[in-house]
């Protein structure tokens, strides 16, 4: 089965980020989106640890232990960027000032509930970080994830079985098979990977899909 590669997924998300957007990219796959923003398009990257106007990784030898992103990787600051403390940083999120937040997910429900912080396994050590703030804070929450689990089950579900991160917070899913909007009228398919039909996508997904009007 044809699938979008991770860099293709990142490019697809990047393409949907308009100039001037304030954007938080979650750790993991979403971080890759930064590398695919069209050159010359000014997008403002926010990092939960108190950075706005975050730039790319520094050149080797220019790493700075005081300048890291949410994933604790060295980053840079663009001219025009700013630093602020954690309460101000999360006020930006919670106050609805970010246009877009891109997160990974274990599951997304048909209503836009998100599960991405905890497998719920009895022996797992929980860690939530900024996931719950990001999920409910931005004007739009995008999810990037593989469409299916390793065992082939749909990660888009009627009801999340993993512990929730946020309720009805996801606007759009970018999977490796499709781009799907979550709307009041259900899941609307915006785009499907080449070579896969709508009916095939529907078969692979746990929940009713609709053609985007």
């Amino acid at each position: 089965m044809n699938k979008w590669r991770r860099d293709q997924m990142a490019a697809r998300v990047a393409n949907d980020i308009a100039e001037g957007a304030y954007v938080n990219l979650g750790i993991g796959l979403p971080t890759m989106v930064a590398n695919h923003l069209p050159k010359g398009r000014e997008v403002f990257l926010h990092s939960e640890n108190g950075i706005l106007g975050m730039g790319p990784a520094p050149a080797p030898g220019f790493e700075d232990d005081d300048l890291i992103n949410a994933g604790k990787q060295p980053v840079t600051l663009l001219p025009g960027g700013a630093y602020f403390h954690h309460a101000d940083s999360f006020g930006m999120m919670r106050g609805g000032h970010l246009d877009i937040c891109v997160l990974g997910a274990f599951q997304v429900s048909v209503k836009g509930d998100l599960a991405n912080w905890h497998t719920g396994a009895a022996d797992a050590i929980p860690a939530v970080g900024g996931a719950m703030d990001l999920a409910i804070g931005a004007k739009k929450t995008f999810v990037m994830m593989e469409h299916l689990t390793k065992s082939g089950e749909s990660k888009i579900v009627a009801t999340c079985t993993y512990p929730l991160t946020g309720i009805a917070c996801v606007s759009r899913i970018y999977s490796d098979l499709a781009v799907i909007d979550i709307t009041a009228n259900g899941l609307q398919v915006v785009e499907i990977v080449e070579g896969l039909s709508f009916d095939e996508l529907q078969k692979l997904s746990d929940v009713p899909l609709h053609h985007k009007n």
């Binding site: 050159k39 010359g40 990092s47 939960e48 640890n49 108190g50 950075i51 730039g55 790319p56 520094p58 050149a59 220019f62 790493e63 700075d64 232990d65 005081d66 300048l67 890291i68 604790k72 840079t76 600051l77 663009l78 001219p79 960027g81 630093y83 602020f84 403390h85 954690h86 309460a87 940083s89 999360f90 006020g91 999120m93 919670r94 905890h118 022996d123 050590i125 929980p126 860690a127 939530v128 970080g129 900024g130 996931a131 719950m132 703030d133 409910i136 804070g137 512990p163 929730l164 991160t165 946020g166 309720i167």
Partner: protein, 237 residues
């Protein structure tokens, strides 16, 4: 004349009591006051409740404090990391109590304590396991969870420079929890890499006014740092 500069880490930390609630700044390694944590290990206060974003990395800093058995409980948002083995072991052995708080609620609860707010309604975490059993309320059509302030006996934070009145500036993203923790503790102790003359810090750019800081202690700079303040637009494009 007021002089908040302590002669040494040992002197600065001398009166921290067993059972204290200790906030420790930092997000991962950035802003972590390593020398103050090492000092607290040497000082030996036990049965501590620690408030930090994480729960230690590797075997140094906060991880070493946990390993020393001085911590009873940790309030944090992100304990599990690739190198959080010290925490993982203690937690699995039931030797460390964990209060897991979404990061923004953690920050806001600290800020609320410093600002004299009795409690606040946050939308973060509503409907999740971390808000189970908690008071909720619908306000203007949105659901919120009631969050309580987190006060501390002591805050240990890392800043870049300070003066004898306790004014502080930070460096880049090492600022993170420092400014809000300073407001929430009865005793705030800051490590700085530079002690400057009164008036040398720009009054427009002081991040933590001295009212929130009781002691300052100078420590050498250990971490990698770059004097390149920003990348050029060209390099970034």
């Amino acid at each position: 004349m007021i002089n908040k500069i302590s002669a040494s880490v040992t002197e600065a930390l001398a009166d921290i009591q067993d059972g204290a609630i200790v906030m420790i700044g930092g997000f991962g390694g950035a802003g972590q006051p390593t020398e103050l944590i090492d000092g607290l290990i040497a000082q030996g206060a036990r049965e501590l409740t620690v408030v930090n974003n994480n729960a230690g990395n590797g075997e140094t800093g906060l991880a070493a404090l946990l390993k020393a058995g001085q911590v009873r409980k940790i309030i944090c948002s992100f304990p599990r990391q690739v190198d959080s083995q010290i925490f993982d072991g203690l937690y699995r052995a039931g030797k460390l109590e964990l209060e897991l708080v979404p990061q923004g609620n953690l920050a806001e609860r600290i800020r609320a304590a410093g600002a004299g707010i009795g409690a606040f309604f946050s939308p973060t975490g509503y409907g999740t396991d971390l808000a189970r059993g908690r008071e909720t309320r619908e306000i203007d059509g949105r659901m919120y969870v009631l969050e309580m302030p987190i006060h501390a006996d002591v805050a240990l934070i890392k800043a870049e420079a300070g003066d004898r009145w306790g004014n502080l500036v930070y460096r880049k993203a090492a600022r993170n929890f420092g400014p809000i923790m300073a407001t929430a503790a009865r005793l705030t102790i800051a490590s700085v890499h530079e002690v400057v003359e009164l008036g040398a810090l720009d009054p427009e750019a002081i991040v933590t006014p001295g009212i929130f800081v009781q002691r300052i202690v100078k420590v050498p700079r250990a971490s990698r740092f770059s004097t390149v303040a920003t990348v050029s637009k060209q390099a970034a494009a």
